[in-house]
């Protein structure tokens, strides 16, 4: 990577990091939202054995809504504080996208790992194929962060931006949830690797690569509109 690109991307990432560390608002909101969802689901299934398909479905729903509600902030806050124009002047569009996407990936992975540990603990679920579970979770986080960053940028200049960002991100991520649930249920002991588990893992990695590869180009096209 060209050094000027690296400098710009890292500068954006550091800016996001410092803003987040001042208030911890995004991390705390995402974590609280996910924990409350996980707790509510676990409480609803009190003393009941939940099948792996339902566990993976519930976990993905919690991750999806926590990402859609919190990760879109990175762009929305720029428009709300009036700092977006300054950012347009100091950094190239691809650097802005990558800096914010990297920060969102970091935030999504931290939240997902914590929520997953809690969820597995609450529902007493055992992971049978750890590598598949890890691949599903990490590739899912990469796709979630990439797609939600882009949707945040698309909605950032609208009047009802917060609601719109979540509303347009969720339909785009439904195929990802379908793949994530297919992979995770196999990792929790339902189904087999040859019967869709490995296919789902490949699909998730492909989805993440495609989202992060096309995202910067689409973002660059609209960033200066």
């Amino acid at each position: 990577m060209n050094s000027s690109w690296r400098v710009e991307i890292l500068a954006i990432f550091r800016k996001e990091w410092r803003i987040e560390m001042r208030s911890l608002s995004g991390l705390v909101t995402a974590f609280l939202f996910s924990v409350v969802t996980v707790y509510a689901i676990s409480f609803a299934a009190l003393n009941t054995h939940i099948p792996p398909t339902v566990v993976s479905g519930m976990l993905w729903v919690a991750l999806l809504f926590s990402a859609a509600s919190s990760l879109t902030r990175t762009f929305l806050i720029e428009e709300e504080l009036g700092t977006a124009d300054l950012l347009r002047l100091v950094a190239r569009p691809h650097a802005v996208f990558w800096g914010k996407a990297l920060f969102n990936i970091f935030q999504c992975i931290v939240t997902s790992v914590l929520v997953t540990i809690l969820f597995l603990g609450f529902t007493s679920t055992q992971v049978i194929i750890p590598w598949l579970f890890g691949v599903s979770l990490i590739a899912g986080c990469l796709s979630l962060a990439g797609a939600v960053t882009l949707c945040g940028a698309i909605a950032s200049q609208a009047s009802n931006r917060s609601m719109l960002a979540a509303a347009i991100a969720v339909p785009l991520l439904l195929p990802l949830v379908a793949l994530g649930v297919s992979g995770m249920r196999v990792s929790l002991g339902e189904g087999s690797l040859s019967g869709g588990g490995s296919g789902a893992a490949i699909g998730l990695i492909g989805y993440a690569v495609a989202t992060l590869a096309t995202g910067p180009y689409i973002f660059a096209a609209v960033w200066k509109s």
């Binding site: 009802n160 189904g191 019967g195 689409i218």
Partner: protein
């Protein structure tokens, strides 16, 4: 000439409708007579897919490259050209959504008659509902921006972002081995030659008629959109003209002068 063509199209559509009710029954279905809805159901997703791809192509054209440096992908500066591609894109998306709704409606009807439920959570039905939600979000993006330039740019960006998930949901997801095994919906009727004889000829005719109708509606929508754009531009020019009144308009004169 145009009237003759329209009359021929009407007559052909009428004949195709009658023919679609008289093709022989397919014994494999629970209600063989009602299976004829396939003849009207099948062309709709075909046209939907073609239209969203054409819409995505028009959306790409909204973002013309004007700088050749790497990673510079800037919107074109000419608002008229941008508006023209935007009108073509929205015409495609509106028509595509119409065909998607027709696909869903005929599919639900088929599901009730053949499988016994209006909604059976069949993977095909479910994935197509996801596609409908994705394109509903596209219209939500467009409605959220009142400025035409931003509406065109952000709408186009979402249309491009939606292409990959849509293609996955339409072509890949229903054919994944565990999903395909759960589905009651056939996946390879055309390629495996299960649709043949009179059924095949009739479905091809209806597909051609639907395509002609889609092209006709697309042209009308584009022409209407361009006329609206011209009208708004003329209004804006008049507003920007200050005291200069257009010819033929009588202005009131103060009596004190």
């Amino acid at each position: 000439m145009k009237t003759a063509l329209k009359a021929s199209f009407g007559l052909l559509t009428g004949w195709a409708t009658i023919w679609s009710f008289t093709v022989p029954d397919v014994a494999a279905f629970q209600a063989p007579g009602f299976a004829r809805i396939f003849l009207w159901h099948f062309p709709c997703p075909m046209l939907f897919t073609l239209l969203i791809l054409f819409g995505a192509w028009n959306s790409v054209r909204i973002f013309q490259r004007i700088e050749l440096k790497p990673f510079c992908f800037m919107p074109e500066s000419d608002p008229a050209a941008k508006a023209s591609w935007d009108i073509k894109a929205i015409a495609c998306m509106e028509l595509a959504y119409l065909f998607a709704l027709l696909t869903m409606a005929t599919g639900i009807l088929f599901s009730q008659i053949q499988w016994g439920w209006w909604w059976s959570w069949d993977p095909r039905q479910t994935s197509f509902l996801m596609v409908l939600l994705i394109y509903a979000a596209y219209f939500a993006v467009r409605f959220a921006y009142s400025d035409p330039g931003k509406r065109a740019a952000f709408g186009a960006a979402y249309a491009l972002a939606a292409v990959l998930p849509t293609l996955f949901l339409v072509f890949v997801f229903p054919r994944l081995p565990p999903i395909a095994n759960m589905s009651l919906h056939p996946t390879d009727s055309i390629l495996s030659g299960k649709i043949k004889g009179e059924y095949a000829y009739c479905v091809i005719l209806i597909l051609i008629l639907f395509t002609i109708m889609a092209v006709y509606l697309y042209n009308i929508r584009v022409r209407t959109g361009l006329a609206e754009f011209e009208l708004e531009n003329n209004d804006a020019k008049l507003d920007a003209g200050g005291d200069t009144a257009p010819t033929g308009v009588v202005r009131p004169v103060s009596l004190s002068e």
